[in-house]
Amino acid sequence: MALNKVVANAEEAIRGIEDNMTVMFGGFGLSGIPENSIVALRKNGAKGLTCISNNAGVDGFGLGVLLETRQVKKMISSYVGENEEFERQMLSGELEVDLIPQGTLAERCRAAGAGIPAFYTPAGYGTEVALGKEVRWFNGKPHLLEQAFDASFAFVKAWKGDTAGNLVYKGTSRNFNHAMSMAGKVTVAEVEELVEVGELDPNEIHTPGIFIQRIYKGERFEKRIEQRTVRKKEA
């Protein structure tokens, strides 16, 4: 029998969240972010969170809503532009920010899920990212020692999922969701469509359900677009 990971809603899915935890959020920009879990975390009110997420949302949406309520103590991200409240809190010192290379961020998630405690990467050598890090040369090139993340929860979002937690993403919304799903001690997946086991083609599943502890159908997906760029149809 396939295991059943289904929980009723976002409130139930975030159970166990406590102040000062380290938490991961999938998504790139606003694409593929776990919107429903974020809203539930805001209602829950857990404070002092260290958030690992490629970006920090925008004012009023995505992680921006947890910044508004001062629930975030520290952000670990690669790019944090386009968010005024974030910038204000960072410049005033209310918010700690650790900016790290995007590939290093992804690999620190993957490594955490894969049982690799640390790895060497060339990214950031010779820059301020290298401060305090061990340098080792391989194949005539300098590399930095980077450590796997340690996160109590990972919140991810997929297009479809089955009751066993197998996930399928759409387009570029896969981004950090897959590696983070591997990394969380408890990984919570919210999906647009929740189906029975057997309905997804096993050949086409992106994230195996073994990485997922809880899955639920998100109540509402706004799926906001950050930079709408279009071209006109030629007449």
């Binding site: 606003l30 690669s78 944090v80 900016l99 995007q102 010779g126 990212v129 896969r174 969701n177 071209r231």
Partner: protein
Amino acid sequence: MGLDKNGIAQRIAQELQNGFYVNLGIGIPTLVANYIPKGIDVEFQSENGMLGMGPFPFEGEESADLINAGKQTITALPGAVFFDSATSFAMIRGQHVHLTVLGAMEVSDQGDIANWKIPGYMVKGMGGAMDLVASAKNIIVAMMHTNKKGESKLLRQCTLPLTGTKCVTKVVTDLAVLEITPKGFLLLERAPGVSVEQIKNATEGRLIIEGDVPEMKL
């Protein structure tokens, strides 16, 4: 005098070779996709997780689930593929991407690049730039030769926080094409109507001029 942003992109497009996988940064680099030479097939990698990136969608066809690394809505061409961020940077670190084009605030004559932070003024983050410059073999910088104050962006040493060291291979500006060599910026081509003297005056780093410097052909 000199090229506009589209001219810089057009000149860089001449560096594309058949079969290349290419990563284009935000700004001028994005425009390179508009000038792919006839008969050359390349595929664009977007580090948020796709290969086979196409043009912007028609109005009404845009999707929150299909964006590029600049968060702009885009389309997927036939043969496109989506993947996760860790796989995307495996492609980059593993040197499977043949050419990286990115913008810069400063480049040094040893190939150092600064493009992610202006202390006390702009702190947005490096995104994927540090991974790209640390691993790519072929990195072309697309930028204006001088900043808005008229100061050279081609320097002996970068003054801003670095993105990577000794990594840039070529710089294409509104004034010139330059190759990074152990002795400095080797002037390869002048923009149409731009003199060697003008390039000398706009370049703070070591500039190497060998013989007659040809004009770019666009």
